[in-house]
Amino acid sequence: MDPVDPTASPAAAAQRVTAEILDAVLHGTERGVVVDSPPGAGKSTLVVRAARELVAAGERLMIVAQTNSQVDDLVDRLAETAPELSIGRLHSSDGRPAPEALRHAGVTASSKVGDLVEQQVVVSTAAKWQWVKDVDPWRHAIVDEAYQMRSDALLAVARLFERALFVGDPGQLDPFTVVGTDQWAGLSWDPSRSAVTALLDHNPGIRPHNLPVSWRLPYSAAGLVSRAFYPFTPFRSGTGEGDRRLTIGTRGDGGPVDAVIDEAAESGWGLLELPARHTVRTDPEAVQAVAQTVRRVLDRGLAAVSERGTAPVTADRIAVGTAHRDQAAAVRSALTALGVPVEAERGPAVTVDTANRLQGREYDLTVVLHPLSGRPDATAFHLETGRLCVLASRHRHACIVVARAGIAELLDEHPSTEPVQLGVSVKFPDGWEANHAVLARLAEHRVSHRP
């Protein structure tokens, strides 16, 4: 664990850790290098740099990402920053890589690995790599979003490389399965755990590196997210207090929605609290409040002031996060009814998605429907630390949470009761603790709303 040296500048601290990681990748004695990265700590930048350095050292490498959109993003980014690289985009036979990934001259796409082995870098999903056969193993691999990858997927692809750099965010959602796996709980190779846990259990010599600076999260959020979700690997924000601001074009109309926007613009956090009530999952009032908040943000002409300059907060810089897909669908239709674009195919649009799908993405402003809002119970699903962590760490400027009152009481009535299994390291902090930490902070920025 690297201590955060408070005296070093964020850039210098990050630079030092990056240099150590690259040295370990190129010259280390262990076959695996693990990098734990908090939200927005420059994980993708690191992946791109490591790829360039490896190619510069005369190596060819394979990159494993977890979803097709991650692969497309990565290919786009690699080709953009390193046009000299020849990149292969390996895709499934019925898959269509995104046009952004294919617009570069250095990128070749194919569904057959044989067409791509000459490329310096070959990128694909874990699911596709599992089917690759009859190729010589690569000497180097980079596994991106490795904490989202399941141990059994790594088991199937590890034959393809000799050494690997694993990069991921340990605070995000754990991989999951819909069938029972208690039978394997406690085994170091439990196939339902994350790939990194399995790797570390079998290779005790590997010491994970930690990226110490979040470039995404503003000063107002980094402290809370670090304390609540990464108590043992603290990080800080790349920008200081007041470096990131939201300015508002028009004055508020005096209503609670405008008040919470003002509060969030000022402090980086806002809680729009509806009266306590047990509701269906797609709570119409809460969904409407989310939609109105987004509508007013767009109407009032917010601008984001940051180290990158000043830019208007347009629809594509806003995301709405929910726990469930039906909630996302309900928010999408409520937004459409208010005339807010939600389909990216037709121009700038607000992203509305579940925590699972928002992982790894970044926006100026997020509006979150609290996973426990209106619920009569707090299940393990809703308490999962990663879910809240993803929702609370997608923003560069501000995060507005919409929730029914009474969540703190609900939490107190539902302490975690997950069985403790021998041989399984207890995940800390648990969702209960993290939820309370976030709630306590949000309570300072509360605006009551009675629709």
Partner: protein, 536 residues
């Protein structure tokens, strides 16, 4: 819990009776199931107390351990259980059919035709509740490694010959029961709660008596009243009318009846031991005390036995789902595979799965889970209704069909536009791929337009119409026809290949022999119900 099953539960509260969750039976039910009701001694999970079993509801057979802590009696009980159960389990191994398939030659990679044996039928064990499934697994785990007098190195405590074999069978059945939709070993509570929604919680549904009370309450009684009676009504001796379905017994029964009877049995045995020469009267006392325990246990087992058969009757009122034979065939393959491994003299299932076997089993279970969900939706309109309610499918009437063609290729292909009127509200965005359920062949379509005010969706059919310019007759739904489309695929994807266990990579500790020494494996407290190759 889906919205539909929540509604069904609310409806059941209102009507006072369980509401159907299915229009067909979604699990295979044997013509000759073996019902097993196991009981265990309080305080020691590994100590069986009794088992009532049989294939004839009028003639249950009872095996009892009068003193559950006596190891000799325990293994005598297990030997009797083996003698009783093994003929049933092994009896399906004789009648086989020949199935042609292909096998890939590991050297050349060429596919060669092979003929494999598949048992025509397979056994089915029904226990009252999920705890009974675990109990049988526990018996399997505690017996499959035992040495017998037949072994070369019998050790100091050999057990009767067939006991380890029973352990291997029970381990296999327990392991198979983890596969979604499998039917070699099933719990009656699980079978019933798949098909009916009661007005109580899932946890309460674990009580077989209460669950049945909701499904078929006695005349003049509501489900809630009957369930309360099943859970708590006691007779003048303070004993439950409806004893728990086990494997644990009611503490009040243990305290008031069983413990005194066991104490009398112990005393009678002590008295007999005190007379080294033997004494007819003392022997009679022991026999009578054992008989008393037997009668007590028969008394608490019999109501559960009748309930399980009652459940079988209820399930038989439902017609079998269309995909049951297909899923039952996987069970038959599983059975056949185990039969073959026993015949080949393979060792018992190992304590732990190795990394590759565990991953393989997880992949199989996930695939079977997806398959069961799909097949249930295709077999049963009520199951499909859950997907329709959650916006993942829609049903409606075709109101318009407009011929259209894709002329981008060398020859034009049919791409007709079909407009469907539906009252459902699917999460359907234009451009999304949908799949036709219940059509003449697999058919994909793409959503072209959605008009929520009008309640219509326009789809462009993209496959399943033959190779000609004009669609095959009957392949395009006609106006007035009822159609169902799903937003999810209707086939299950193949699981990706995994390395052979001896090729386990460095990320997972290397090949198993080395891995077995890893401290994490030794410290693991998991339940090692395992099977090296449950793979069909």
């Amino acid at each position: 819990m889906s919205l539909l099953s929540t509604l069904a539960r609310l409806e059941a509260v209102r009507s006072g009776r369980a509401e159907p969750l299915a229009t067909v039976r979604h699990r295979h039910l044997s013509d000759r199931p073996m019902v097993v009701v196991p009981l265990t001694a309080a305080g020691e999970a590994g100590a069986p107390l009794a088992a009532m079993l049989g294939t004839d509801r009028a003639a249950p057979r009872l095996h009892v351990v009068p003193q559950p802590l006596d190891r000799d009696q325990r293994f005598a009980f297990l030997a009797a259980l083996a003698a009783d159960l093994l003929p049933y389990l092994e009896g399906y191994g004789e009648e086989v059919e020949q199935v042609e398939g292909t096998e890939r030659d590991p050297e050349t990679g060429e596919r060669t035709p092979v003929v494999r044996e598949l048992c025509a039928q397979a056994p089915q064990l029904i226990v009252p509740s999920a705890a009974g499934v675990d109990q049988l697994g526990l018996i399997g785990r505690s017996t499959r490694f035992r040495r017998t007098a037949d072994d070369a190195d019998a050790g100091p405590h050999p057990v009767p010959t067939r006991v380890p074999l029973l352990g291997r069978w029970l381990t296999h059945l327990r392991e198979r029961s983890e596969v979604p939709g499998s039917s070699l070993l099933v719990a009656m509570t699980a079978l019933l709660s798949r098909h009916w929604a009661t007005g109580q919680s899932h946890l309460e549904d674990q009580h077989l008596g209460a669950l049945l009370a909701w499904i078929s309450p006695p005349p003049g009684m509501s489900g809630a009243e009957a369930a309360r009676r099943a859970e708590s009504a006691r007779d003048e001796r303070g004993q439950l009318y409806c004893p728990p379905a086990g494997p644990a017994t009611d503490p009040r029964f243990d305290e008031k009846l069983l413990a005194p009877a066991v104490a009398r049995y112990d005393a009678a045995r002590a008295a007999l031991r005190a007379r080294p020469g033997g004494d007819e009267r003392a022997e009679r006392h022991v026999r009578r005390a054992a008989e008393e325990i037997r009668e007590l246990l028969a008394g608490v087992l019999r109501p559960t036995w009748d309930q399980v058969w009652h459940g079988v009757d209820l399930l038989r009122t439902l017609p079998p789902a269309a995909h049951l034979p297909e899923r039952w065939e996987s069970d038959r393959w599983s059975y056949t595979g185990h039969r073959d491994r026993l015949a080949a003299g393979e060792p018992p299932q190992p304590r732990h799965d190795d990394a590759v076997t565990a991953a393989r089993k997880l992949a199989q279970r996930e695939r079977e889970q997806a398959k069961v969900e799909l097949q249930e939706a295709l077999d049963d309109p009520l199951a499909m209704a859950e997907h329709r309610l959650s916006g993942e499918a829609f049903a409606g009437t075709v109101v318009d069909v407009e011929p259209a063609y894709d002329t981008s290729g060398r020859s034009p292909k049919p791409r007709p536009l079909v407009t469907v009127r539906t009252a459902d509200r699917p999460h359907a965005d234009p451009g999304r791929e949908v799949h036709r359920a219940g059509g003449p062949a697999a058919q994909k379509a793409e959503i072209v337009a959605v008009d929520p005010d009008d309640g219509t969706l326009t789809l462009r059919l993209t496959s399943g119409m033959g190779r000609r310019k004009e669609p095959e007759p009957g392949s395009v739904p006609q106006p007035g026809e009822q159609v169902v489309f799903t937003l999810f695929e209707l086939t299950v994807r193949q699981a990706a290949p995994l390395p052979a266990p001896e090729d386990t990579p460095w990320t997972h500790g290397g090949p198993p022999s080395a891995a077995a020494l890893a401290p994490a494996a030794a410290a693991a407290g998991s339940d090692p119900i395992t099977d090296p190759e449950d793979w069909e």
